[in-house]
């Protein structure tokens, strides 16, 4: 019930959409009716390859993000622990961080063509830095007393990394990954719009170009829903992973 009240403004927006299209306030070419969009979505789900497109997209996002998480955490902790590595990599990071990663899409397409690898690479590059920087900041901020205690108890180097530094840096790493999660969706859709033959981004652009507006709206809202749902799921998981911190 509480949830219903909280989310009622969204319902309000939906109702105004219905009213606008019902009374023809806006031409149906500009804003197809809600039911038309919903029916189209259902049809595409059953008869067209919407499921395949969605699966392709999610697979790409997951691969790119997964790679970025692995490499980002590794490099981030390495840089935090080694002054030399920090000096070595800092200039690159300083230049790459503010670069809008969408600008890499055409270059990556020149290199890798229109297949999976191009989109996965773009997503990987875009998601890498937030994870890397949060791991770096997290690992560097570990309290020295924690490290000393572990050392005096005879922790090995690996044990120190895994049980002390990684654990202590985890909250920051996890919030870095959350930023990357959002970025992965944006880059996924952008890269697929610019150059792909499959995927939800491709589908939105393709349907838009061919004037299939109800379908375009349906897929666009599906993408929005995916972005929102994965973020919610991630938040829930984050809370679960960090449950040891409460009380």
């Amino acid at each position: 019930m509480n949830l219903a009240i909280r989310y009622s403004p969204l319902l309000l927006l939906l109702i105004s959409w219905v009213i606008i299209s019902r009374f023809g306030l806006v031409s149906p070419d500009m804003l197809p009716a809600v039911e038309e969009v919903a029916i189209k979505w259902w049809q595409m789900l059953l008869h067209d390859d919407l499921v395949v497109h969605a699966a392709f997209s999610l697979m790409r996002a997951a691969s790119g993000l997964g790679l970025a998480i692995l490499v980002g955490i590794g490099l981030g902790i390495l840089i935090a622990k080694s002054k030399w590595m920090e000096l070595l990599l800092q200039p690159m990071l300083t230049f790459l961080y503010p670069l809008p990663k969408s600008a890499l899409i055409p270059v990556i397409i020149i290199w890798l063509g229109f297949g999976h690898s191009a989109q996965i690479t773009v997503i990987f590059l875009g998601c890498l830095l937030p994870v890397l920087l949060s791991s770096f900041n997290g690992a560097r901020g570990v309290e020295t007393t924690l490290i000393w205690s572990a050392q005096s108890l005879g922790t090995t180097r690996w044990g120190m990394l895994r049980h002390v530094i990684f654990r202590a840096a985890l909250p920051e790493i996890l919030s870095g990954i959350r930023i990357s999660l959002a970025i992965s969706f944006v880059l996924l859709i952008s890269a697929e719009m610019v150059g792909a033959r499959k995927g939800m981004g491709f589908l939105i652009a393709f349907l838009g170009d061919s004037g299939e507006y109800p379908g375009m709206f349906a897929v666009a809202f599906m993408v929005i829903f995916f972005g929102f749902a994965t973020d919610r799921f991630y938040l829930w998981m984050m809370r679960y992973l960090l449950r040891y911190r409460e009380g």
């Binding site: 969204l10 600008a103 055409p106 939105i204 507006y213 375009m216 929005i224 972005g227």
Partner: protein
């Protein structure tokens, strides 16, 4: 001490120099086809050429203009909505679910819809970028204004401050550091979206020039524009950082030694 610094800069320059040399050599010797990777020197020359012919100047100004306008719209609207959400109950009720759904959602999926509604020129690009980067601004401002120290507000009330002065002299300044952080998050988002919508909807700009380069088999142009976009992004972020330091000069902002990026 001086020697130390020399070593520092030496180590720092290792990777960029190696990459640039490897780039130039592998492209010149034909290890990599010059279609895939035009030599670095050629790309730089191309920047100079396109700048002096005015082609790139026009693209640069197109992109800059859209960037500035879209970011301004998002800042003004976002900060106002954020403050109102913290102050007025019904505004909070209305925007809270919209922000919580809109924040993590990939708004870029609406780009073709924006094109349908607003045509092909500047309007859909600018509005798409504002729409994409406004959510972090609203969220950050709201949290900041909500979190203003109660004692500050009570003391001001106790001294007879009216609502108007309270907003401008107490709440806004107290929220400013956090608002600035939100603005720093939003800037690259606006830039990403401007570049991508230039690629997809034409109408010039650096993103459009990159796409033209890759469509017309002119990779030097694509790379030249990529480098200019990178420099522009770098300068924009640095500028905002400097502005933050200027504006918040009075604030006891702990100058944490975060990694400077």
């Amino acid at each position: 001490m001086k020697q130390n610094r020399l070593i520092r800069y030496g180590v720092m320059s290792v990777l960029p120099v190696t990459i640039l040399v490897a780039w130039e050599v592998s492209a010149r010797t034909g290890m990599v086809s010059s279609f895939l990777l035009p030599p670095f020197s050629k790309v730089i020359l191309r920047i100079v050429e396109d700048m002096s012919s005015g082609l790139m100047v026009a693209a640069l100004f197109g992109t800059l203009y859209r960037m500035v306008i879209s970011y301004m719209i998002a800042v003004v609207l976002g900060v106002s909505i954020g403050i109102l959400m913290a102050r007025i109950h019904i505004v909070r009720w209305f925007f809270d679910p919209i922000v919580s759904v809109g924040f993590p959602a990939p708004k870029i999926a609406f780009l073709p819809i924006f094109i349908l509604w607003f045509g092909f020129f500047d309007a859909p690009k600018i509005l798409m970028a504002s729409f994409s980067c406004i959510f972090p601004i609203i969220g950050g401002t709201w949290a900041a204004a909500q979190g203003v120290d109660k004692y500050l507000i009570w003391s001001a009330e106790n001294l007879g401050t009216n609502r108007h002065t309270m907003l401008w002299r107490v709440i806004l300044p107290a929220a400013l550091p956090q608002v600035f952080t939100a603005l720093q998050v939003a800037l690259p988002i606006a830039f990403i979206v401007i570049v991508i919508s230039e690629m997809l909807t034409g109408g010039g700009g650096l993103g459009g020039a990159m796409m033209a380069g890759s469509r017309l088999a002119d990779p030097a142009r694509t790379f030249a524009n990529l480098i200019v976009i990178g420099i522009l992004g770098f300068l924009a972020m640095k500028g905002l950082q400097l502005l933050r330091r200027r504006v918040l000069v009075w604030h006891v902002e702990v100058q944490q030694e975060e990694m400077v990026v």
